[in-house]
């Protein structure tokens, strides 16, 4: 086994923000995903595609320890975040989640005002200064391309917004705590094409500052936005495996594996 210092040398310095080493997840006694090894490059968009049941969401939830919340889930292997295994016993999962943000499949704003939704992460992480909160809320809403639409009604309930706006609000909420990585679990699954296009534009703009990992069912979406694409498939026992990982161009034009080719050509899934 390599030492911590070597890990940092090996992965961190060459620009991988997240590296997984033999990452597996068991639900009960059964593997949902097994032996996933992947390097996620910094300031890029990585799409994870694959048919239902291939463990894409399970994989994503390992990266910010959201699987901890499911009592039956057991994670094996390592997830290096900036070279440090986030499953080490001395790691505080709450801190990890503040640095690796998440956007969910369905918009899930809190039943609070637009402002308080974005301020929530700041408040729970101990930011008290009102001016700082206001400044960072504005900044996050601007980054999420929502500021102009909501600046005159920040104290309105978030549920007054349309689905697409709610999802951008959730992105702003995640950005407000200034994470390094943004995990997105099919963020456009419940949105119409126009709202989807806006989220995609936003993602491309955000990768200058963040590393984005997006799970999607939609292969066109992966082709449009992602720099890198990982293909996951269930094996014959239904255990999710990483079949192929590479630049999006390679995956879609010149896949190495037959399974990938069949999948991106629409013959599986």
């Amino acid at each position: 086994m390599t030492s911590k210092i070597e890990e940092i040398d090996t992965y961190y310095n060459i620009g991988y923000v997240i590296t997984t080493l033999d990452l597996s997840v068991k639900y009960g006694g059964r593997y949902a995903i097994k032996d996933i090894n992947i390097n996620i490059p910094r300031n890029s968009i990585t799409a994870i595609i694959g048919p239902s049941g291939s463990g894409k969401t399970t994989f994503l939830r390992c990266l910010n320890r959201m699987n901890d919340l499911i009592s039956k889930a057991k994670v094996e292997g390592r997830v290096l975040f900036n070279g440090k295994n986030i499953y080490d016993p001395d790691v505080d999962p709450y801190q990890i989640r503040a640095r690796i943000g998440m956007v969910f499949q369905k918009p899930n704003p809190f039943p609070k005002s637009i402002f308080e939704n974005v301020a929530f992460g700041l408040r729970i992480n101990g930011v008290k200064n009102r001016e700082e909160i206001e400044r960072r809320v504005k900044h996050a809403l601007t980054q999420a391309a929502l500021w102009d639409e909501v600046k005159d009604r920040l104290n309105h309930n978030a549920y007054e917004l349309s689905g697409g706006q709610q999802q951008r609000l959730c992105i702003a909420r995640a950005l407000a705590v200034e994470p390094e990585v943004l995990l997105m679990d099919e963020p456009a699954a419940s949105l119409d094409p126009i709202a989807t296009a806006r989220i995609e534009e936003l993602m491309i703009r955000l990768k200058e500052r963040y590393t984005i990992i997006i799970v999607t069912h939609n292969m066109q979406q992966a082709a449009r936005v992602a720099d890198y694409t990982a293909v996951m498939m269930p094996d014959e026992d239904g255990v999710g495996k990483l079949v192929e990982f590479g630049t999006t161009r390679e995956i879609f034009t010149n896949p190495k594996s037959k399974k990938t080719e069949d999948y991106v050509r629409g013959r599986i899934g």
Binding site: N64, M66, L69, G101, K106, P109, P111, I124, V177
Partner: protein, 294 residues
């Protein structure tokens, strides 16, 4: 298409059943209003609502309902204070902290409390709570007193508060909790800043419905709070609530047709209005503030 005869019959029987409840309600209101009108032809509404002496069963009769209202207010406040803290506490525990195993044992136990006959609570108040209070903190407490009755009523309505609050806490979607966790929130922050605020309408409604039960509760206060209609807010003294007065007079203290007999309908009408208002507020809160989370 022709509706079969049997179905028509079943339909009309069921319709009759539901109409009957409405008719019962109308008859009750009608009786209350009718008898109250006689009462108010002899006593001014002003004296009734704002008078501070209630000496209906004495020779020098005064019909100020405020002492009875104060009695009801006192016992109900004690009850709701106790039931809201303990009820909400157990609801949060059951919904957010208890393992499914503990939950499956504790929840039914809690609901047994709701099945205990109120007369048992009444004697529980006199023979257990009062002596306990007397020997521990309040040596001067009267045999009949508002505090013990209020505590017993509080215990009685804990299941109402706990069960309704728990339902609304449990209904807060997992996705909201996950959103909070994904921002780095700790469990206690998720519970107090997301789950409880999102369930607030249900929680407030459970308090109001619990309060409505306490205001209308009769047996416990008739047994344990006393028959002393004096204006006091001292919970260690004997008092009389609106319901206890009605119970006392309607069990034969006053001859039919007398003003004291009619006074119970006026008190009843007042009580009915109060409880109905509380229920309306409770329903309004649920609808107006209801969690609009799809």
């Amino acid at each position: 298409m022709q509706v079969p005869r049997a179905e028509k019959i079943v339909g009309s029987v069921l319709l009759a059943a539901s109409l009957l409840t409405i008719i019962a309600l109308i008859l009750i209101i009608e009786t209350l209003v009718y008898e109250s009108l006689f009462f108010f032809s002899r006593v001014s509404i002003f004296e009734f609502l704002f008078g501070v002496e209630w000496t209906v069963l004495f020779l020098d009769k005064k019909f100020g309902v405020v002492p009875l209202l104060a009695g009801t207010f006192l016992t109900s406040s004690i009850a709701i204070l106790l039931a809201s803290t303990i009820g909400l506490g157990s609801a949060v525990y059951l919904s957010e902290y208890a393992s499914p195993r503990v939950r499956s044992v504790v929840k039914p136990l809690l609901e047994i409390l709701a099945g205990i006959p109120t007369v048992v609570y009444g004697y529980f108040a006199i023979y257990t709570i009062t002596p306990l209070l007397k020997s521990s903190v309040f040596p001067d407490i009267s045999f009949y007193n508002a505090l013990s009755a209020g505590i017993a009523m509080g215990v009685m309505i804990i299941p109402t508060v706990a069960s309704l609050s728990e339902d609304s806490l449990y209904a807060v979607p997992e996705t909201l909790k996950h959103a909070a966790y994904s921002l780095g929130a700790k469990k206690i922050q998720v519970v107090f800043r997301v789950v409880i605020p999102a369930a607030l309408s249900g929680i407030v409604a459970s308090f109001i419905l619990g309060l409505a039960r306490a205001v209308g509760e009769t047996m416990i206060v008739a047994i344990a709070a006393g028959f002393r209609p004096v204006l006091t807010l001292n919970p260690l003294e004997a008092i009389q609530t609106m319901t206890a007065f009605i119970a006392q007079v309607s069990t034969g203290e006053a001859p039919h047709g007398t003003v004291e007999y009619q006074s119970i309908f006026a008190v009843g009408l007042y009580l009915f209005t109060l409880v109905m208002l509380l229920n309306l507020i409770g329903n309004y809160v649920v609808r107006r503030w209801g969690v609009r989370v799809s």
